[in-house]
């Protein structure tokens, strides 16, 4: 078995017309690892996650996830691939007119889980994230912080092998942040590979996990081990 989950080799992303969001970026993440991506706004953190999830193709370079070269993946394989990955988007990507439960459930419906399993799972997640009372609220009526937690719940709902969280604590108070980080740790302990993009230093201050710092689309530092 290959122990590498994510392998980016000299990945470059140039958004049209000529915005170089990422240049010659390489990153290898092993299965079961938890990694933090940090850097100033516009450094390219979200872009890295988008390349890994296959939402955006690289302009140059190689993106391999779970041993699969994403640029060579057939259209037919994409759904199954995406079902394996849970991504909490920076802009949440929730459906405003659907309830919290429906939004979270969608992630499991696409892989045809049975409805009772979905219900139980949704309740479990809402409990973990202290959102039980919002079960039937439309997400447009939630605060940003609540929406953020719904997005996280949806990302982890389908037991993905790889979790990509883009700024997961951006709108949360310290207590709720703690709650979310506990959730991630739980999944990481259970074997999920997790990549978190954030500029919230508090969440990786005392971590033993790798922290990669980006600036202007390039890797400028890796902690705690190496300092270039």
């Amino acid at each position: 078995m290959n122990k590498t989950m994510v392998d980016l080799v000299k990945a470059t992303k140039i958004y049209p017309p000529d915005v170089a969001a990422l240049e010659d970026f390489s990153l290898t993440v092993d299965k079961g690892e938890m990694v933090f991506l940090t850097g100033m706004s516009g450094a390219g953190k979200s872009t890295v996650l988008k390349l890994i999830s296959g939402i955006e193709p690289p302009t140059k370079g190689l993106v391999e996830v779970a041993g699969k070269d994403l640029t060579k993946m057939k259209a037919k394989e994409i759904p199954a691939f995406r079902q394996q990955i849970g991504m909490a988007h920076q802009d949440f990507k929730l459906l405003p007119d659907r309830t919290v439960a429906q939004n979270i459930g969608m992630a499991m419906e696409v892989s045809y889980e049975n409805f009772r399993a979905i219900r139980n799972r949704v309740n479990e997640l809402l409990q973990m994230l202290k959102l039980e009372h919002k079960h039937d609220t439309q997400t447009e009526k939630l605060s940003r912080g609540e929406q953020q937690r719904v997005a996280i719940a949806r990302a982890v709902a389908n037991y993905p092998v790889l979790i990509l969280a883009d700024e997961p604590t951006g709108n949360l108070d310290p207590v709720t942040t703690e709650l979310v980080m506990k959730l991630f740790k739980q999944y990481n302990d259970a074997g999920s590979t997790i990549i978190i993009a954030t500029h919230d230093e508090h969440i990786f201050q005392n971590t033993t996990h790798r922290v990669l710092e980006l600036a202007n689309g390039r890797l400028i530092a890796t902690r705690p081990t190496l300092q270039p």
């Binding site: 969608m106 696409v110 892989s111 045809y112």
Partner: protein, 295 residues
């Protein structure tokens, strides 16, 4: 199995959201089916009636002289060569006289002084009982008039031709309303589905990100089209049936309807119309997805 229940759930949600447009489309589809089926019903009944009318259809060719048997064979052959017929009957002067006498019944004594040969011999031609022979009766009779020894050809009445034109007209209307049906159902359904796809663009986008398969995304739209076809044509046929019952009641009594014995579609015909409706609407939704649901 799981797939089906998930797709049906998804379809239910969509319908809940878009039912006003869906309902309008349903009405359009059923109205087109109603119009088409209405004319088609008239057409099938006219066809049936024409078969009956054909029973009394006969052409009589009056001759100068009685043909000898070889001549009879030749004439028979000529007639059948031009247009195969059911029966050719030769009536001699004596037979004609005999018939007349029978028709006169008790008054036959007025014939006693008559020469039994005063009536001309004739050939009676019974065409095959279908609409084609009705259509070609004029041409046929013109031909028969050119047979050797023929003096005059007589057949039915002018209504035979008028009746034929009438059936032609209905045929045309059936075809036109069929085209109308095809256009409205496919286009209306395609339009509704297009609208639904546009309305749900955000949702479909997220579903794709979450890893929904093409069939999971497309099946609900196909089912919507299928339902439009099924319910639309069923509703159309049902309204036609009610209309039929109402008219039948209105004309119950000794009228022309009894003459024709106006009947409703056979179950197979109903099945075929509904199947065609389903097919058309499904094709409509498929074609809309081809255009607007590129994945």
């Amino acid at each position: 199995m799981k797939f089906i229940s998930h797709v049906l759930t998804q379809t239910g949600r969509n319908l809940q959201k878009t039912w006003p447009t869906q309902f309008m489309t349903l009405l359009t589809v059923s109205l087109s089916v109603l119009i088409f089926a209405f004319f088609f019903l008239i057409y099938t009944n006219v066809m049936k009636a024409s078969e009956k009318l054909g029973d009394n259809l006969r052409l009589t060719i009056y001759l100068e002289d009685e043909p000898v048997p070889e001549m009879q064979e030749q004439l028979k052959k000529k007639i059948n060569d031009f247009n195969p017929v059911e029966k050719v009957l030769f009536v001699s002067r004596a037979e004609a006289f005999q018939r007349l006498a029978e028709q006169l019944g008790d008054d036959r004594d007025i014939l006693t002084d008559m020469n039994p040969a005063f009536l001309p011999p004739s050939i009676e031609v019974y065409p095959e009982k279908d609409l084609n022979s009705l259509a070609r009766i004029k041409v046929f009779s013109d031909y028969l008039a050119t047979l050797p020894g023929a003096t005059k050809v007589q057949y039915g009445h002018g209504w035979v031709e008028r009746f034929h034109y009438f059936t032609k007209l209905i045929q045309l209307i059936v075809v036109l309303s069929g085209v109308l049906l095809i256009l409205t159902s496919t286009f209306m359904v395609a339009y509704t589905i297009r609208l639904a796809v546009i309305n749900r663009q955000a949702e479909l986008e997220i579903l794709r990100l979450l890893g929904a398969t093409n069939s999971y995304i497309q099946m609900p739209f196909v089912i919507e089209g299928l339902l439009q076809g099924l319910l639309g044509s069923a509703l159309g046929i049902l309204s036609l049936h009610l209309l039929y019952r109402w008219i039948a009641k209105l004309f119950s009594g000794p009228t022309f309807l009894n003459l024709f014995e106006f009947t409703f579609f056979a179950p197979t015909t109903i099945g075929l119309i509904v199947a065609a409706g389903i097919l058309l609407c499904t094709v409509g939704s498929l074609s809309a997805m081809r255009k607007f649901l590129r994945i």
